[in-house]
Amino acid sequence: MNGSDRHAEELDARRLDWALREVVGGRRAPDVTAAVLARAAAGDRGVTEPLEPHAGTSRGRWLLLAAVFVLGLATAFGVGWLRQHDGADDRREAQGDLVRIVTRAAAIASLPAASKAVEVHNLDDAAVAALVARCPDLEHLCVFASTATARPASVGDRAVSITDDALVAIGSLRHLRRLELVGVQHVTGAKLRELERLPLLEHLALTFLDLDDDSLQVLPRLPSLRELDLESNQGFGARGLEAIGACPGLRVLSLAGSGPLRDDWFAPLARLTRLESLNLQAIGLSRRLLFAEGMPAPRTPEFGERGIGVAALQPWPALRHLSLANTLNIESSVGARLARDCPALQNVVLDVCLQIDDGTVADLLSLPQLRSLSVRGCPEVTAASIPRLVTATPLREVHLGKAPWLTLEHAGRLARAGKRVTCERPDDPAFEAALAALTPVSVDRVLRGRVMRDGRPVIGMVAALYAPLERSNGVQVRVTAALATAVAGDDGRFVLTAAVPPGEYELRLEDHRPSPLAGSQPAWVARRAVTIRDGETVPDLDFVLR
């Protein structure tokens, strides 16, 4: 096959990918009218760096650009020499890698005015107003009060919550894309409509506080909303779910620990046809671990109060990840329902769903793309499921909890079929060790690539493999450690070996050489998403720097 044939084939694939998904799959263009109008009203011009002209560039313009570049470079180095450590933080922050954590109001005045991402802990309305005035270009704000999780005793911090009045200041952050209000239990939701002034808001978390139905009516008026997290939020009901269902752009939704909610209230969520990830675990159960002195007492449904049932589940054609963990009373027919209505599921968590059984597992294994199944603490799932688990082709992981019926012979059959099986028996270390020896936890993956600039190899850059960012108790984990690294050699090539399971990763090209701007801090200069699959070689990951 020559080059033009390959091009023709690739062009076929691209055009037909669109056309066949439209004609056969019924996919249509999304309506972006509201989002565009909202962004335009906020003064957004669509691009943050100048567009190159469509026509050719004159020699004079090149000379001007070169002069500006040289002048800019000299200025940057001069400023860099003069700056101290903060300069390095600025650079990493601009790359979306750093969230500044502020625990004292007095520290706000020393924040760089151009800060993009800030997390405040146990501060009040005045502090948030000062932060907004100091950093008007914030894109990511998390306001955290230590009521959401156990407070670290060694720190001894005191839970302080903002009130609704702080939302007025937050509503003026026109560039805000991500807002997290965690455990701020003095927020009642009376001024949530201030968020309508945030046209770019994509991710909203209102967790570990109680908001009522009226408060949530603002949600459909947030044109850019893609991810909504209402974990441990026990103030809303039917009208709140209606408002959520009126947000058709949602891709990610968590209602974990919220409610109690009735099955028939979920019907409006059927409109969320683009939903990819849904967390419905522990609905109707209180997951509040702590409510601090001076805070309103959380609403606490009785433990064991009926959670949702199968009737709450809707057809979600794009759904890939679903958790129903701790949904104590969900019926065993959940497997058949999901196989019928959510055919794209890849990852299903049914831990502590007491009624599911081997029939449920069999139904779930008919999902054509199911890769991971978790049934920890499900007493009706037995060894009868083993033959089906062994032969389920796409399945890669199965999590069984204690599973007293699991033998090493079962585990061996699963391992030989390429399944990773976990079973927790802390009182039987010999079994756990034998299981670990059987189960192929991971294999070495080899990633190769080359770093080039202007046709020449770039030496000394570090290729570093990272897992995606994770969240923990409503707080985003910030800079993660690299899983593996490799240095580009004399020819600019690197070979990186990592013992990791299949999944989505990020490969960053990092410059670890000390520089006037970055000090001794490494800074990444490029990054690419990497998909690692069993039995497939990762294509070369070349970087072309400019």
């Binding site: 037909l16 669109w18 669509g46 469509h54 794209a344 054509p368 793309q369």
Partner: protein, 168 residues
């Protein structure tokens, strides 16, 4: 006297065509949606005045292509070449009617598919299954599905070219 742009009307009139164009150039769905928004915002800023549908469509496609090239510049020169080729193919086949005639030809060609060819299209493009799932359901290897999809696409391309050529 120049007529100012009605942004809402511009979006409603052109978003379907722009979506198809970006997808045909190889933008995944999420990226295409982002780029559509950016493109209309640039248009509001730069287009200046309403010069009619044809001029607006051409400006939007040029801008969208440019933004896509910028977003995918890390993928190197081959990607830039492919985007340019896809752009040329779009202007040749779909530029005048946002691809309606081309899609009609595709529908007619799809009706002629039978057996495994029809099934693989339904599963992969209709139901959104990945290659591994299609392979499992059809009792094939993943590479076999890949080859089958390549053959089906080539057959569809030939059929569409024949139909459009015949219609012209």
């Amino acid at each position: 006297m120049p007529v100012p742009i009605d942004l809402a009307a511009l979006v409603r009139r052109h978003q379907a065509g722009l979506w198809r164009y970006l997808r045909a150039l190889g933008a995944p769905e999420d990226l295409a949606e982002d780029l559509m928004q950016d493109t209309f915002l640039v248009a509001m800023d730069r287009l200046g005045e309403d010069r009619g549908d044809a001029a607006a469509a051409a400006f939007l496609r040029r801008t969208a292509r440019h933004l896509l090239l910028r977003r995918r510049r890390d993928l190197g020169r081959r990607e830039a070449i492919l985007i340019d080729l896809a752009d040329a193919a779009w202007r040749r086949d779909c530029g005048e009617d946002d691809g309606e005639l081309w899609l009609a030809s595709l529908r007619a060609c799809l009706d002629r598919l039978e057996g495994r060819a029809r099934e693989v299209v339904q599963r992969f493009y209709g139901e959104g299954q990945d290659r591994a799932a299609v392979a499992a359901a059809m009792g094939m290897k993943a590479n076999g599905v890949k080859t089958l999809l390549q053959r089906v696409r080539a057959a569809l391309r030939g059929c569409i070219e024949q139909r459009i050529g015949g219609a012209a």
